[in-house]
């Protein structure tokens, strides 16, 4: 997280539940972060962002448990092939936030091979900070989609900062997009029965 933070400019970042969000908020607190997306939904949500804002970098901070819940999305990412999408999967081989029982990657499952088999050419496994930093720098430069599987150990961060309520987080995230894109996302209610805002 600390290695990735300096590479962030205006990218939109969506995080997995629990510690991933806590640690990212410590490393890079900003309005362009959406924390605590549901397991299995992080990379798909980022895919929707990437396809809708093709000029803008979007990053998923996903986990091994999350991506295993929805492996089909790797095939959709491959076939849609948004060059602005990066999915960083922190693979600690466990469901660390819910008791630490092992995921399939603690056994025989290889997420890099699955991503490559899905059709994602830039699927890379990294095991150290130096390789991660080099790979992330290349990914931020473009030519995605990228899937970076980071083999990490399961440990608690030193502090678990409180994250804001999901709705407040969404409003702030959306306002940040509206401001930086010059677009309208929230279309408030109108008095009387009018035509919907297009």
């Amino acid at each position: 997280m600390k290695a990735l933070a300096p590479m962030i400019t205006d990218q939109l970042v969506v995080t997995n539940v629990a510690r991933t969000g806590f640690e990212w908020k410590m490393a890079a607190p900003r309005e362009g972060n959406l924390y605590t997306m549901a397991m299995g939904m992080v990379t798909p949500v980022v895919l929707g962002l990437a396809l809708s804002l093709p000029h803008r970098g979007v990053i998923a901070l996903d986990g091994d448990g999350g991506i295993l819940l929805n492996l089909g999305t790797l095939a959709t990412v491959a076939n849609q092939a948004p060059p602005n999408l990066i999915s960083i999967i922190f693979d600690n081989q466990s469901y660390a936030s819910t008791g630490g029982l092992p995921t399939a990657t603690a056994g025989k499952t290889d997420l890099v091979a699955i991503a490559k088999g899905a059709g994602i050419e830039n699927a890379v496994g990294v095991h150290d900070i130096k390789t991660f930093t080099e790979t992330a720098r290349a990914a931020v430069a473009g030519n995605g989609p990228w899937v970076i599987v980071c083999r990490v150990v399961s440990e608690k961060p030193p502090v678990e900062p409180k994250l804001m309520d999901g709705r407040e987080n969404k409003y702030r995230f959306v306002r940040y997009i509206e401001e930086t894109e010059g677009t309208t996302v929230l279309r408030p209610s109108v008095v009387g029965r009018k035509e919907p805002t297009i």
């Binding site: 969506v14 959406l34 997306m37 549901a38 299995g40 939904m41 798909p44 949500v45 980022v46 895919l47 929707g48 962002l49 990437a50 396809l51 809708s52 804002l53 929805n70 089909g72 999305t73 095939a75 959709t76 076939n79 849609q80 999901g166 709705r167 987080n169 969404k170 995230f173 959306v174 997009i177 509206e178 894109e181 677009t183 309208t184 996302v185 279309r187 408030p188 209610s189 029965r193 035509e195 919907p196 805002t197 297009i198």
Partner: protein, 167 residues
């Protein structure tokens, strides 16, 4: 669904402001899904399951798109986790435009139980629903869906009766 109805519904969706679609091929909807995939009025994504599809639509909405997922009745059952944990939790709207497999008049035995629970399922999920059996009423219903989506920031459902999908 007749090709002419598919084109009518597709254009009615676009006229109501929808511009992003997720689809998983379905017997009763493939003409509409093909139309959406080829239309310049939509960005259409073919997905691997409906839970993934509604999550992709959530991302599209966050970026300013107006999303619809065009899906089988069973796809609503499959997508309930994502609809609650992603859309309802964060307050993100989406239109579920679905078939009514197992509805009154459907002759497929395997669909009976899926159709039987659909209205109560949507009610339990607090997703407003309208069952439409006349394609001529659909354009106004789609505009109503947009109004409710914008006001509620919650999923909305339109269920297409077999009188539309099977004629």
């Amino acid at each position: 669904m007749k090709q002419s109805d598919a084109e009518f519904i597709g254009n009615a969706l676009a006229d109501a402001g929808f511009d992003f679609a997720a689809t998983l091929p379905a017997t009763q909807l493939h003409t509409l899904q093909s139309w959406l995939a080829e239309s310049q009025r939509f960005k259409t994504v073919s997905v691997t399951n409906e839970a993934e599809g509604v999550a992709i639509c959530a991302g599209a909405w966050l970026a300013g798109k107006i999303p619809v997922i065009v899906l089988e009745t069973s796809g609503i059952l499959l997508s309930t986790y994502a609809l609650m944990r992603c859309h309802a939790t964060f307050g993100i709207p989406i239109l579920l435009l679905s078939t009514y497999r197992g509805g009154l008049g459907d002759q497929e035995w395997y669909a009976v139980h899926t159709g039987a629970v659909l209205p109560q399922l949507l009610e339990s999920l607090r997703i407003p629903c309208k069952i439409v059996d006349d394609v001529d009423r659909l354009a106004e219903t789609l505009r109503d869906a947009r109004r409710t989506m914008d006001a509620s920031l919650h999923p909305v459902s339109i269920v297409l009766d077999v009188r539309i999908t099977d004629r």
